[in-house]
Symmetry: C2
Subunit: 524 residues, 2 copies
């Protein structure tokens, strides 16, 4: 196949290849069913890198124009093979029950596809808004081999329903890992779920009714806020500082709102990175017991520590069964695993297991078996060590970049683990207004409003993920953010320093003083 390319043109080569193939398919020169050359072959024909051709094919495949078939190549799909839909009378309204839906529950749901980002005007957007590790580090090839081994060895049984509570050897392996981390667990107390989000949803559905109150940190994980909103709950926020949730303010809220659940991320909190101090952990457990409110402990990335000593999980000090512990392997491995788990005991464990069974029947059996094999032979631990080294370097690189490129009034704190930096902008700035400006400058951020029960409270905050990019990309991304901040039309921040100014709940320091922070534990 010959495709005319212009290497000097500002359109990237993969876009040139993509555009050529797109035209050829639309014009019928490449009719449906045509087998395209392999990426290796076409790259060699065109004298370009194979990755360039793969990128072009990926774009066409995402648009449903071509499709790769296992073991047989890549084919052009039929351009528009679906017959026209029977006409729907556009003037006829939706059925009444559909119209009423918005008022009943849909109203709390927001945009069904989440935030619709501004069209990316920048050709090479650097996405610092993500919530996972680096896909380039996913051990995809090792996992491919593990899956092969499982399917060769176990055949159809790897594809049956399996144990509704989870593949027993995996639950056993999880119990071992947790026990080694100080959380005494037994396989029979572990429930494997289709991702940790699913675990949160099961707990919420079992324990709360629409209108019930749930306590969260303010700010907290955006996905939990969305879930609790969708379930029609009243969300009560507790402020957070560098030592985690301000537990001393909790009791008043418990007395006032009678919540049915306390949701907390005590370690490398999302988004702030804060770790709950040992005294506050004890206070929190005591309060939960005194008021008989269950604690949902989300330890989404507790084993991704860069320095300092680990605080034991809340679940490690829970002899009476007040804590439901949730975690996942997805953040460190691959989100597509959809394999999380929870640890609980007593009636709540029975209820969760039963609710999961009636809502799902079972969790993907093959993935559980593959994950178990992967962990048991020590590959997960090796991967975790490697990722921790890399992510620590990236955190340090991003902190240095923030220090060098952003105005000194921007506040940030070095987290001792996890994936995120949490930035506080000078007075007068709004991260929501910054968002499109930053997009135009070529960087995407997570605006602070996403993480607060009341979005307005997050106006001056933003979250950056340092784990998913190489140091040079982080540097460039922060430089673009600096450009965006300069061009955001706002009054220059006052010259007076504002560290620990009023309302600065996190007690963050100005990064101008924070040169040594990266290698220190979070400030007490």
């Amino acid at each position: 196949m010959r495709i005319p390319l212009e290497p000097q043109h500002r359109t990237p080569l993969f876009r040139q290849i993509e555009a050529h193939l797109r035209r050829s398919i639309a014009s019928g020169r490449l009719p449906a069913g045509t087998r395209l050359p392999s990426t290796r072959r076409l790259a060699s024909d065109l004298g370009v890198n194979r990755l360039t051709v793969e990128n072009a094919y990926a774009e066409l495949e995402a648009d449903g124009l071509i499709a790769g078939r296992a073991g047989s190549g890549t084919y052009v799909l039929a351009a528009s093979p679906l017959p026209p839909l029977p006409p729907r009378d556009a003037s006829a309204p939706w059925p009444r029950w559909q119209r009423e839906l918005a008022g009943r529950r849909g109203a709390t749901l927001g945009d069904p596809l989440g935030r619709t980002p501004a069209p990316a005007r920048h050709r090479h957007l650097i996405r610092l808004d993500g919530g996972t590790g680096d896909p380039r580090l996913f051990p995809a090839e090792e996992f491919r081999k593990v899956i092969q081994g499982v399917m060769r060895r176990e055949g159809a049984s790897a594809l049956g329903y399996g144990d509704p509570g989870g593949f027993f050897p995996l639950r056993r392996t999880i119990a071992h890992v947790l026990t080694a981390q100080g959380v005494p667990a037994r396989p029979e107390n572990v429930l494997v779920t289709a991702g940790s989000q699913r675990a949160l949803a099961l707990v919420s559905a079992l324990l709360l009714r629409p209108g019930d109150a749930v306590v969260v940190e303010r700010p907290t994980y955006a996905g939990a806020l969305e879930l609790f909103r969708a379930h029609g709950l009243r969300i009560v926020g507790v402020p957070i500082d560098a030592q985690g949730m301000r537990v001393e303010e909790l009791e008043t809220l418990l007395l006032q709102h009678h919540p049915r659940l306390i949701y907390t991320l005590p370690t490398f909190q999302n988004p702030t990175g804060a770790c709950l101090s040992a005294p506050r952990r004890r206070q929190l457990l005591a309060l939960a017991a005194r008021h008989s409110v269950p604690i949902l402990e989300d330890d989404y990335v507790g084993d991704l520590r860069y320095e300092g000593r680990a605080q034991p999980a809340l679940k490690a000090s829970d002899p009476q069964g007040h804590v439901i512990y949730v975690s996942t392997f997805s953040k460190m491995l691959m989100p597509g695993l959809r394999t999380g788990f929870l640890v609980a005991e007593g009636p709540v464990l029975d209820g969760l297991r039963q609710l999961q069974r009636v809502e799902e029947l079972a969790t993907c059996n093959l993935m559980q078996r593959a994950l178990e094999a992967y962990i048991t032979v020590g590959r997960y631990q090796a991967h975790l060590r490697r990722a921790s080294r890399l992510y620590r370097r990236r955190r340090d690189a991003m902190l240095r970049a923030v220090e060098r490129s952003l105005p000194s009034q921007v506040q940030v704190e070095a987290p001792a683990g996890g994936l995120f930096l949490w930035l506080r902008l000078p007075e007068g700035y709004s991260s929501a207004e910054l968002l499109p400006v930053a997009e135009a400058a070529g960087v995407r951020i997570a605006p602070g409003g996403d993480f607060f029960p009341d979005a307005g409270d997050g106006a001056r905050f933003l979250r950056l993920c340092f784990a998913a990019h190489e140091p040079e990309e982080l540097l460039e991304g922060v430089r673009r953010l600096a450009t965006a901040l300069r061009s955001a039309e706002h009054p220059a921040p006052p010259a007076v320093g504002r560290r620990r100014g009023p309302g600065n709940e996190r007690g963050a320091v100005e990064h101008g003083r924070a040169e040594q922070l990266p290698s220190l534990p979070p400030r007490a």
Copy 2:
């Protein structure tokens, strides 16, 4: 490895091998970490079939005593490596919120692990209580290759979150398949779910609140009943006969109970096998529109037809968006796929998509890609044709067995498709009481009570799955059921024939007259 075996002993060889290994592990003769010989090697050493050794290993693995590792062999696991749990004060009660849980929601949940079967006293239990096709037909090897192809080609991207609404090419393929079956569908109206049970759960969670009423057929799919009970709904049953739901009785119930949802399995209904007639399909759609009640159409196995012409799905005649259509590939392929889907439009689709996103983030990406590749190259269709031929023969074999072995007062009807026979016992019998007797005789049945909103109404019914066993096994299973019926201590059924007796809503015929039924469509 040498294991003394007694081929003439009544204990099967695999149990002898299993017991020997179990003792060796318990005694420490095979310490943790020992690599066991391959099944091929041990089978050759012992002069037995390889399958015999595989069965022994499978039993030990299921108990967590040994584990196979991809590409490296099978190892003995540590016997009891978990340290003792910190003592829990047995006299201390669970926290109050845990104790209250039973009263709040747990009360409706029943046994967390579902029915606990009587200990299987029979060594070779024939399980006719299942709800899936034959695991031996799962195209596990083809699927292994497809997964390999996807992972080789797409690497880490096959293991990312993916599109929350489902992998686009798979949605496109599903739209094509449905359009070909007369249900006009567009990829953007398809939502891929983690199994069809998950689709039912999302619809129930979005549209109904605890205390709301839902209409179901009486009897209906047990998994839907359990789900609706767990969600705290009022369940209103409509009787069913050979032409499906008695729609003429529906309007009264709509006026009386104001249900928020009508759940129906119009084609090869579970458990009865009935198909809703064309006039009733029209009536049902008209009633739903008049009373503005959404219909949840569960087409769990609509493409598994053995004879006669297909009725179009309800969704095929739904220009206004009253019907939410749910189906799955799991029944025909492998339940472990955990991949189902729904088709809807309008606000309800937005709401379902959003609820799925906040409760799960995404559905297993790799499985969706593998399934798409498998279907698109025509392997699903070929598998379906092959399975249909086989299952039809099995249905006929079971019908003949019922006719020959069971008392003539047992009533049954030949379903034109699906997986099940639905049997009605003579007066005085109870399938719940029959259950343990049948277990002792070596056959497991699904008792009728599981399928009725009020279990008592199902006392005289039972469901048998014909799809998962070879004809000889079905024959033997039905023979054992006959033994169980004879030994059930009940008055002999009266000599008077009772076909179409009072209360026999399905209008079933006595199988003594049903010799030609297997090749006929269901009686009108």
